[in-house]
C-alpha cells in the first residue's frame, strides 16, 4: 500500500510538470490556434537565463521575476519578427517554423551554456513531510504553483476583456477585427504569455530533473499527451490531463506493463482520447465555420 501511495505521489509530481508544460501549449492554442512545438525549448532557454542571473548573484525571486518578464518580451518579439510575416502562410509553414525555433533554441543554449547538466535552485526546501520520503515540500510546491497559474489563467481568459479579446482573435480573426480587436497584437500577447508560463514551468521543472538543453524534450511529449487528453482548448482540462497522465503512467508502469512502455502508454492514451473524444476528456467541441 505504501508503495502504491508513493507511486501516486511521484506521479502527481511529474504530472504537475506535464501540466505546466501543457498549460503553455494550451495558452498558445487558445490565443493563436496553433500548437507550438518550440514551447519546451523556449521554456528551457528562459530557465537558462534565470540560471545565469542566479549564477551572477541575483537573489532567487528577483531572478524568477525578471526571467518571466524577459520571457514575456522574448515571446512577444518572436511573434512580431518571426511569425507575423507568416500570418497568412499555410499551417505547414508554421509547423516548420516552430520546429526551426525548437532546434535554434536547443543549439543556442548548448552553445552558450554547454550541455553539462546544471543544478537549479528551488525556492521550496526538499523537506520531508512524512518521515519516509513520501511527500516533500518541493513536490507540493510544484503542484501548488501549477494550480495558482491555472487559477490566474482561468480568471484571465474568462473574466477579463483582454482575455476575451484574445480568445476571439484566435477563434475568429475577421469577426474579432470587425469588433475592434487588434488581432495581430492579441496574437503577440498570446505568445508573450505562453513564453512567460513556459519560463515558470521551466524554473519549476529544473530543480527536479536538472537543467540541460534537452531538459524539455522528453517532457514536451508528455505535455502534449496531457494537453490532448485533457482538452487542448481548456486550461483546467490540460492540468487535470497532466495529473492523469503522470499518475496513470507510474501505476501502469509499476504494476502492469513495466517501465519500458511508459511513454508508449502515454501516446496510446492520446490516440485513444483522440479516437473517442477528439476534443479531450474535458474539452468542449469547437465548431468552426469553414
Amino acid at each position: 500500500m505504501e508503495f502504491f501511495i508513493q507511486q501516486v505521489v511521484a506521479g502527481l509530481t511529474s504530472g504537475a510538470i506535464y501540466a505546466c508544460v501543457a498549460l503553455g501549449l494550451v495558452m498558445i492554442f487558445v490565443s493563436t490556434d496553433h500548437i507550438n512545438f518550440a514551447q519546451g525549448e523556449m521554456a528551457m532557454f528562459a530557465t537558462y537565463i534565470a540560471w545565469a542571473l542566479i549564477d551572477a548573484g541575483v537573489p532567487y525571486w528577483i531572478a524568477f521575476g525578471s526571467t518571466i518578464l524577459i520571457a514575456f518580451v522574448g515571446g512577444l518579439l518572436i511573434q512580431r519578427f518571426i511569425l507575423k510575416p507568416l500570418e497568412n502562410a499555410p499551417v505547414l509553414a508554421l509547423v516548420v517554423c516552430f520546429i526551426a525555433l525548437l532546434s535554434i533554441f536547443n543549439a543556442m543554449a548548448g552553445m552558450i551554456w554547454s550541455y553539462t547538466i546544471k543544478p537549479f535552485p528551488s525556492p521550496f526546501p526538499a523537506l520531508d513531510l512524512t518521515g519516509h520520503g513520501l511527500v516533500n515540500v518541493r513536490q507540493l510546491g510544484v503542484v501548488g504553483v501549477t494550480l495558482i497559474m491555472l487559477g490566474i489563467l482561468t480568471v484571465f481568459f474568462r473574466y477579463t476583456t483582454l482575455g476575451l479579446a484574445m480568445r476571439a482573435a484566435a477563434q475568429n480573426a475577421s469577426s474579432a477585427r470587425l469588433m475592434g480587436v487588434r488581432v495581430s497584437w492579441m496574437l503577440a500577447l498570446g505568445w508573450g504569455l505562453a513564453a512567460a508560463i513556459g519560463a515558470t514551468a521551466g524554473m519549476l521543472v529544473a530543480p527536479l530533473v536538472f537543467l540541460d538543453p534537452n531538459m524539455m524534450t522528453g517532457i514536451l511529449v508528455y505535455g502534449f499527451a496531457a494537453a490532448l487528453v485533457g482538452g487542448i482548448a481548456n486550461p483546467a482540462g490540460a492540468v487535470l490531463g497532466g495529473f492523469i497522465v503522470g499518475v496513470l503512467e507510474n501505476l501502469v508502469g509499476s504494476y502492469v506493463i513495466g517501465n519500458e512502455l511508459k511513454l508508449t502508454f502515454a501516446l496510446a492514451m492520446v490516440v485513444g482520447v483522440l479516437l473517442f473524444k477528439p476534443a479531450g476528456l474535458f474539452g468542449r467541441v469547437i465548431v468552426k465555420r469553414v
Binding site: 511529474s14 532546434s103 550541455y115 553539462t116 543544478p119 520531508d128
Partner: protein, 404 residues
Amino acid sequence: MKLSRRHAVIGAATGLLARPALAQNKYGPGVTDTEIKIGQTMPYSGNASAYGVAGRAQSAYFRMINDQGGVNGRKINFISLDDGYSPPKTVELTRQLVERDQVLLMFYSLGTQTNTAVHKYMNQKKVPQLFVATGASKWSNPKQFPWTMGWSPNYHTEGAIFAKRILQTDPTAKIAILRQNDDMGGDYLDGVKEGLAPIWKNVVADVTYEVTDPTVDSQILQIRNSGATIFIDIATPKFAAQAIKKIAEIGWKPTHYLVSVAASVGAVMRPAGFENAQGIITAQYAKDVTDPGWAKSPDYIEWKAFMDKWNPTANQLEGSNVTGYAVAVNLVKLLKQCGIDLTGENVMRQAADMKDYDIPLLLPGIKVNTSPTNFSPIRSVQLARFDTDHWSLFGDLLSQDAHA
C-alpha cells in the same frame, strides 16, 4: 610560366618511374606530404551532447600538435562532424568523410548505436574505425571486424568487476539494478549477471528507464521498495545525477555502485550535490583530475597547461576532457609508429601492435597493449570511492583477463 602538355606528361611519367625507386612514402587516402586527414562523428547536439566535450578537446589537441609541427611534418586535418547521436546521420556523415573527404581513418566517433550503424560499412570499405568511443564489447572482434577497434575498458568487464566485488564483500545482501534500456545497459547487465551468477537470486529488482523519461524518481522508489541494500546504477549522466539526488532525498542508504560513464565529477557528482554522493563506488582507468593527489604528477601538469592554453573555454571538471585528450595522444603516438607507410592497412597493422604504450592520465600501471588477436587496448580498471569532492582509488588494478 606556362607548362606545355608534353612537359606535364613527361613530368608525370618521371614521377611514375621515380616512385618505385624512392619506394618509401606509402600514402593511403587523405595523406599527403603535408597532411593527414582524420574524420570523426560526435554528438555536439542532441541527447548525448554532454560527450561532445571530448571532440572539442581533441580538436584543440590536434591544433596544438600542428602548431608544434605536426606528426612527422604532416599537419593533422581533423574533421569532426555533429551527428546529434542519431545513427542515420552518422551513416550519412561517415560516408561523406570516407568517400568525399577521403579520410585516412575515423577516430573516436562516439556512441554505441551510432558506431554500430557504420560498423559493417567501415569494414567493407577497409577504412580504420579506430578507438570508437563506446564501451560495448563488440568492438574487439578482430576476426570478423579487422578494421574496428575500441579503446576504453568495456562495459561488460566493468559490470563483472562490480559483481566480483559484491560477491567478495557482501554475498548475502539483496541487490537492485537500475539500467538504461539500451545496448549500454544490456552490456553492463550481462557483465553483472556473469559475475553474480552464483548469487543471482539475491537480485531483488532489475528496473529499467528510457532516455525519454523526464525523471527516474518512480524507478528509484520501486528499487527502494524491493528492500535491497546494494544498488548497481547503470545510468547516463543526467539520470545518474537524478538517482543520486533522489536516493538522498528519500533517506535510503544503499552501497551504491555507479558505472564509469556517469562518474564525472563535474557533470554528475557536483550537480547531484557532493553531500549526496559520498561513498559511491565506481571503476576508473583514467586519472580523475579533480583528485588533488594527482596535482603534482607530470602528465596532469602537462594536460592542465594544454587545457589552459588550447582549450580555455572548457570546463576542466568534465571527465571527457581527460579521456578525449588521452586517446588523442594515443592516436598521435600510433601515427608516429606508422612512419612513412600511412595507409589504412598499415595503420591497422600498427594499431594491433601497440606495445606497452604509456599514455598520459591513465592510472599508474595501466598500459595500452594490443595484438592481432587482442583489440581491447585498455583492459584494467581500479575501483574508487567518492570522498569529499573527488574519487579516491582503493584496492588493486583489476583486469579483464581475470574476470572475463
